[in-house]
Amino acid sequence: MSTPTTPQPPARPRLGVFKLASCDGCQLTLLDCEDELLCIAAELEIAHFPEASSEPAPGPYDLVLVEGSVSTPEHLERIRRIRADARHLVTIGACATAGGVQALRNYADVEGYLATVYARPEYIETLAASTPISAHVAVDFELRGCPIDRGQLVEVITAFLAGRKPAIPNHSVCFSCKRRGNVCVTVAHGTPCLGPVTHAGCGALCPTYGRGCYGCFGPAGTTNLPALVPLMQRDGMSEEDIGRFLHTFNVTAFTAVEEQGQPGTTDAEGPG
């Protein structure tokens, strides 16, 4: 009689967490997953995560999460090495997906900033622009937010483990507001809100507490900024205010939308 052999559990996929120019808030979201963290650690080998362990293990990694933007010549080198070591590369947060708030310098004089901020600017090596990771290497999935949403991070990891597409919708914050039963802050209170042009993902956190969305998840999959701007003006914002409202954590992404102007009015309509 043959003895049934217990199948060996397959090796766990290896996780690497990296950062470039960023505040660490997005990668710390992983440690904030208190209820799920043990399960994540059981399903994935957390091989490289300096915020959690001082013993980083070398690649290759099956799943890599990267926060931060490409901001220095050294980042350019590092992101290529990280990509080469990553089977799947997911960028997390506004810095990694849009260049972050540090991309404000893309529209200013970097030399002038250096001279103003640093006593010895010659020690600083920086690029003229802060750019998203997708500008330099292929990215498998971009998770938005400043910071990212914990539930969405768990969903992306879970989807990776199951080999399916993450359930991360592309629509506007208005969808989340209406599903939550929120009263629209713009229509009922005249509060300026970027919700109609902002990517969902936060669960409409700000409008739920009666304030306007300030766009920390960047533009939604489809936007019509020229239609929204007059409402913000009506509700008391000057052109300068609106510029500041749009140019925060996702400055490059909203600037791209501003430059794109009105959405296309023709399409090759298929059946239906």
Binding site: S172, R179, G181, T186, G195, P271
Partner: protein, 389 residues
């Protein structure tokens, strides 16, 4: 109604009676004692929303609304009326067709094969207090959509079957209302268990009440009431007929179905596209928009999976995503889809218009797109085209 199909049908309407404010208090108590979850209008976050009522005290006594395209404001009313406000940010759809429903879950069995567990339907016995005639019509439309055809939605049926509907006839239409154009108000003709008409005048604050079902009559019998007097009857009839004359909006007097069908390439679609945010608010607040998407989720172990149904919208780019991309890639095609379905092809699908004239989509569109204005513009453009061959 104990049977949704019995909507105002065989039951013979009983004589009208009059309730005072304390009659409404007792009404809510009686319904709660009967195990009903009473939902009605109440003030929250600067709007008259629909929520569970513990007592009739939570009704928006003394609150009215000022409505315009893209604008909603509460205002105080001197007369203390409870139902003198028009449609708010939600509709009864939120309760009958919830935004998020788990449809089934599955766990990996001992042999590795998934064991699927159908979702048990939660039995909720609703009483809806203050249903406007336009919304009464909307519920009848949803009945056809969700349970009238080959596929009957168990979630909808479990919430709708046996729901007790108390209509409040409309005496205060908003600037965005056009139920008269859609033939759905301001009087409640059928589909209710009780119908109220609020009257506030020198003779006091009272509600002319009639029952529309056996259960409605039974509930009414438990309330402190008096038989209807002629002045109250006349005041109620006058208030409702005056409401019909005070509609803030109207549809063009043409066959809207034909108007939609024959103007798919109108230039007006480009004009409205410039104003449309594609935010989906109009579909979410519409009392008849029913579209959903499906989301399959797993847990981290992969041993547990769930299927959820969520409200979706034809304005979502992913809504028409097929192999190779979205069919309706431009905002123009998405707005056109919504309007032509609502006013046109809904007839082909469900034998009626999908619009009841409640005006919610006009009010809650941040940029104030007004479907009546769009219909008028399409009509004008078509007429102009005919005149200039």
């Amino acid at each position: 109604m104990t049977d949704a199909s019995n909507a105002g049908g065989v039951f013979e309407q009983r004589a009208e009676t009059v309730l005072d404010r304390d009659g409404l208090d007792v009404l809510v108590r009686v319904l709660r004692r009967r195990g009903r979850t009473v939902i009605g209008p109440t003030v929250r976050d600067g709007a008259i929303v629909l929520d569970e009522l513990d007592s009739a005290d939570a009704l928006p006594y003394g609150w009215g609304v000022e409505l315009e395209a893209g604008r909603y404001r509460l205002r105080r009313r001197e007369d203390g009326a409870a139902f003198a406000h028009s449609a708010g940010p939600q509709s009864w759809k939120s309760f009958l067709h919830p935004e998020r429903v788990r449809q089934w879950s599955a766990d990996r069995g001992p042999d590795g094969a998934p064991v699927v567990r159908e979702e048990a339907q939660e039995r909720i016995s609703y009483a809806f207090l203050g249903v406007r005639p336009c919304d009464l019509r909307a519920i009848q439309i949803l009945d056809r959509v969700m349970s009238g055809g080959r596929y009957r939605d168990p979630t909808y049926l479990s919430r709708r079957t046996g729901a007790f509907l108390i209509a409040a006839e409309c005496t205060e239409p908003g600037a965005t209302c056009f139920c008269v154009s859609m033939g759905s108000g301001p009087a409640a003709d059928a589909g209710y268990d009780l119908a109220l008409t609020e009257v506030v005048d020198d003779a006091g604050h009272r509600f002319l009440c009639r029952s529309g079902s056996e259960e409605g009559a039974a509930v009414l019998a438990e309330l402190p009431r008096r038989s209807a007097d002629d002045p109250t009857r006349e005041a109620a009839a006058q208030a409702v007929s005056a409401a019909a004359e005070r509609m803030g909006r109207s549809m063009p007097l043409v066959d809207l179905r034909t108007l939609m069908r024959d103007n798919l390439e109108a230039e007006r679609w480009d004009d409205v596209t410039a104003r449309c945010l594609s935010c989906g608010n109009c579909t979410m607040v519409c009392p008849t928009c029913f579209c959903t998407t499906t989301e399959d989720v797993t847990d981290l172990t992969g041993d547990h999976a769930e299927r959820w149904r969520l409200w979706d919208s034809c304005y979502d780019l992913d809504f028409s995503h097929l192999q190779g991309g979205p069919v309706r890639a431009t905002p123009r095609s998405r707005y056109r889809q919504w309007l032509t379905h609502k006013l046109g092809t809904w007839h082909d699908q469900f034998d009626s218009s999908g619009c009841v004239g409640c005006g919610r989509c006009i009010v809650w569109c941040p940029t104030g797109i007004d479907l009546t204005e769009e219909a008028h513009a399409l009509h004008r453009e078509a007429a102009h085209r005919e005149r200039t061959p």
